[in-house]
């Protein structure tokens, strides 16, 4: 069992699109997959045409156990289930903060799922507070989508500094370039420069494509409504890269 967070401390970088497509591709390999939509905006939930509602709301969620399991919905695809988002999750930060062992709460909530699923993917909201620490504690690996822009790179540096300061293993954080515009010179230059600066960059960028934005219209993963598109292939390549570099048995053994 592996838990993977799709996380960023910056908004609008393509987290949800990556989470939805990667979890779909994981399920297609036959792995029992759970996608947890932790973002109160509930975009991932929307993409799967599922109502953004948790039984007993955030309260039930924090309790964990049966209530959370009952909230899980089967998607339209084999082997893929979804834990829907709920608007009440917007206060998760504050709620966690009030509790004992406040940084381990999410880990505890997800524990019962570890026997049920081969892979759990978290679609995370933008955060770098106590919720971020809950995420880092709950998962085996973190995958950060990165737009090759100055601001995006700056935010990523902030994340790494934060992790080092709070003693979260930086070598469990991976990144891939997202929303890449091949025509922009700056994108190209930044991608080249960063290869020298950071470790753990998966060499499989996701281009900026209209096809990906159309997910909101079709409410399906790209690979479903447009299986032969460039977008679909890009996610497929990213998934291969994730499998071979992050999820390969050799790697997870060493964790």
């Amino acid at each position: 069992m592996t838990t993977l967070a799709i996380y960023s401390n910056k908004g609008g970088v393509g987290k949800t699109a990556a989470a939805v497509n990667l979890s779909y591709l994981a399920a297609q390999t036959g792995a029992k997959t759970l996608l947890c939509d932790l973002d109160p905006q509930s975009s991932a939930t929307y993409y799967f045409r599922i109502k953004p509602k948790l039984r007993s709301g955030a309260k039930g969620f924090i309790k964990g156990g049966k209530q959370v399991y009952k909230s899980v919905k089967g998607t339209d695809y084999e082997n893929l289930d979804l834990l829907p988002a709920d608007f009440s999750l917007r206060n998760l930060d504050i709620t966690f903060d009030k509790l004992r062992r406040s940084k381990q709460r999410l880990k505890k909530i997800l524990k019962p799922f570890k026997d049920q699923y081969d892979i759990i993917i978290l679609d995370c909201p933008v955060t770098i507070s106590i919720l971020a620490e809950n995420i880092l504690n709950a998962v085996d690996l973190t995958l950060v989508p990165l737009i090759p822009t100055t601001l995006s790179v700056r935010t990523y540096r902030q994340l790494l500094t934060f992790c080092k300061k709070n003693q979260y293993a930086v070598n469990r954080i991976y990144t891939f370039f997202s929303m890449v515009d091949r025509h922009k010179k700056m994108h190209k230059e930044l991608m080249a420069a960063m290869a020298g600066e950071f470790n753990g960059i998966l060499q499989s960028p996701i281009p900026y494509l209209a096809q990906i934005e159309k997910m909101g219209i079709y409410r399906e993963p790209v690979a479903v409504f447009s299986p032969r598109s460039v977008a679909s292939k890009a996610y497929q390549n990213l998934w291969f890269r994730v499998q071979e570099t992050i999820l390969s048995p050799g790697r997870s053994d060493s964790l």
Binding site: I50, V72, K73, G74, T75, D76, D81, R219
Partner: protein, 519 residues
């Protein structure tokens, strides 16, 4: 967790009509139909069926499950259909099946063609809330192939139980019923006119205690002839080694029955067929010996030090060549006039109505009396011979005891239907342990001698010959040490068999003295 539900569709039921009715509440979306072919496997003697297992392949996968259960015990991916256990990729399925099918070949029993058409049941958000799968099963891919049944599956989706409940109500209202657990495997076999479990090499005859002994003997011998004939026809295809083995055991049992169920047929007849079956048995001696060596190839190699393991290969190459010659010899033997005449005469004799008065002294004796007498007498000879060995363990005497035991075992198996099954099985189990010990000892003696003699046959032109001889020498040494260990274990094994408890049970079952006491 929600379960998938299966509904029977009566002949000619229009599932589309039901789907149309559902459209008032749900949107239905038809998905592409999937065609699949399932192939069911078992060994000739139904080893998987006897263990309540169903093995079948579909696409590039192989599945194992229990009959009438949908949960799969093991699944593996395969590149080609395995025939023998050693063709399977290493893993749980292989480990599960190995002790069951052993050296037997898996045969294709039946094929079933599935055609399933899934429909997604959508809510207002066009989210799938359940699946309905229409399924049609046929015996071939052709449109007009005989159908084995059609079903409608309701597959609920987690988190949408409410919708499934509504669908269950609507299916019930449409008059559809959930069938009892059924097994496609049996249905397909019935269509192919194959009866699971119909073949077993074990003696399975039902005798009446008051039956005349000559009649009873013929019942047993007819059963054995049936086994001989079945395996004979399959031997030529050479699918696995066990057709020859079962064939030989049936021949041996026939010879034993002729010798041990004494004086039930005219002496001339018994003498003639004893000789005939001795001849028939000899036809396949060499083939079986070679089969055993080749089946044990891996075990022999494991006995050798790693450095010598590959050096023994020329020996097995030589044995393989010999085996294919021996096989051809057996096949032409089976086609010879002499062989055909023996079996035809034998069959005619067994099917001939019994004479009203027979010259044979035991012919009219109730079989229960003869069975008791023969079994008890044989038991006494086993004990006597064994006791002699305890005093003085000569190899030759162990051989004699082994033959006595074999005769006793066959007698007990022929007549087991006349006695308490539980009690006689206890004694057969006890006897088996002794036989295993004696059998191992004999096998090791024979193997040592065989290996010693085979060295003369190995091609001298072979560059590796010297190395091969060293390997064979090492093997003989290991076999010799093992033989001594087996021999050392004899005393305890025999003493267990000859225990007072077993003696009492033998007396209870097979002597009239004890019987009178019981009645």
């Amino acid at each position: 967790m929600l379960k998938n539900l299966k509904y029977n569709l009566p002949d000619g039921y229009d599932e589309k009509q039901f789907m149309r009715k559902l459209a008032d509440q749900y949107t239905l979306k038809k998905e592409p139909a999937i065609a699949e072919r399932f192939i069911f496997f078992d060994s000739f003697d139904w080893r998987l069926f006897n263990k309540s297992l169903v093995l079948y392949g579909s696409g590039n996968k192989l599945f194992l499950r229990k009959p009438a259960k949908s949960e799969i015990i093991h699944t593996i991916e395969i590149n080609s259909l395995p025939v023998f256990i050693w063709d399977f990729p290493d893993g749980e399925l292989k480990r599960h099946l190995a002790p069951i099918i052993k050296m037997r070949a898996l045969l294709k029993l039946a094929e079933v063609y599935f055609r399933s058409t899934p429909y997604r049941v959508l809510n207002r958000d066009e989210k799938t809330v359940a699946r309905l799968v229409y399924e049609d099963l046929r015996l071939s891919g052709a449109e007009d192939a005989p159908t084995l049944g059609s079903h409608l599956w309701l597959n609920p989706i987690k988190g949408y139980a409410k919708h499934s409940r509504i669908l269950v109500q609507r299916l019930a209202a449409a008059g559809l019923t959930i069938p009892n657990k059924e097994e496609m495997f049996y249905k397909a076999l019935a269509f192919e006119d194959k009866k699971p479990g119909s073949y077993s090499a074990k003696v399975n005859v039902q005798l009446d205690p008051d039956m005349r002994s000559d009649e009873a003997a013929k019942v047993i011998l007819r059963f054995l002839l049936h086994v001989i004939r079945i395996n004979e026809t399959n031997m030529e295809e050479d699918l696995d080694t066990e057709f020859v083995h079962d064939y030989r055991v049936a021949i041996r049992r026939t010879r034993s029955a002729l010798g041990q169920i004494q004086y039930v047929f005219p002496a001339k007849t018994t003498d003639r067929f004893k000789k005939d079956f001795a001849f028939v048995g000899k036809l396949s001696n060499e083939l079986r010996d070679l089969d055993v060596y080749l089946l044990n190839e891996a075990d022999y190699k494991a006995m050798l030090p790693a450095a010598l393991r590959d050096d023994i290969d020329p020996l097995f190459d030589h044995l393989r060549k010999k085996r294919s010659k021996a096989f051809q010899k057996v096949i032409s033997g089976l086609k010879s006039k002499k062989y055909e005449k023996i079996l035809e005469d034998w069959e005619a004799f067994l099917n001939k109505p019994r004479p009203d008065d027979s010259a044979a002294p035991n012919a009219e004796l109730p079989i229960i009396d003869l069975a008791c007498k023969r079994i008890y007498k044989k038991y006494r000879s086993v004990v006597k011979a064994g006791n002699l060995i305890l005093e003085n363990a000569e190899d030759e005497m162990l051989h004699v005891l082994r033959i006595h035991c074999k005769k006793l075992r066959y007698l007990m198996e022929f007549f087991s239907s006349l006695f308490s099954r539980k009690k006689i099985n206890v004694l057969i189990e006890q006897l088996k342990k002794l036989q295993d010990n004696l059998g191992d000892f004999n096998d090791l003696c024979v193997q040592e001698e065989y290996l010693l003699n085979i060295t003369k046959e190995l091609p001298t032109t072979h560059g590796q010959l010297k190395k091969t001889l060293v390997a064979i020498g090492s093997l003989i040494g290991t076999l010799g040490r093992e033989r001594q260990m087996v021999k050392d274990a004899f005393a305890e094994t025999f003493t267990d068999f000859a225990s007072p408890e077993n003696k009492e049970l033998f007396q209870e079952l097979f002597t009239s003295k004890a019987k009178k006491k019981v009645s």
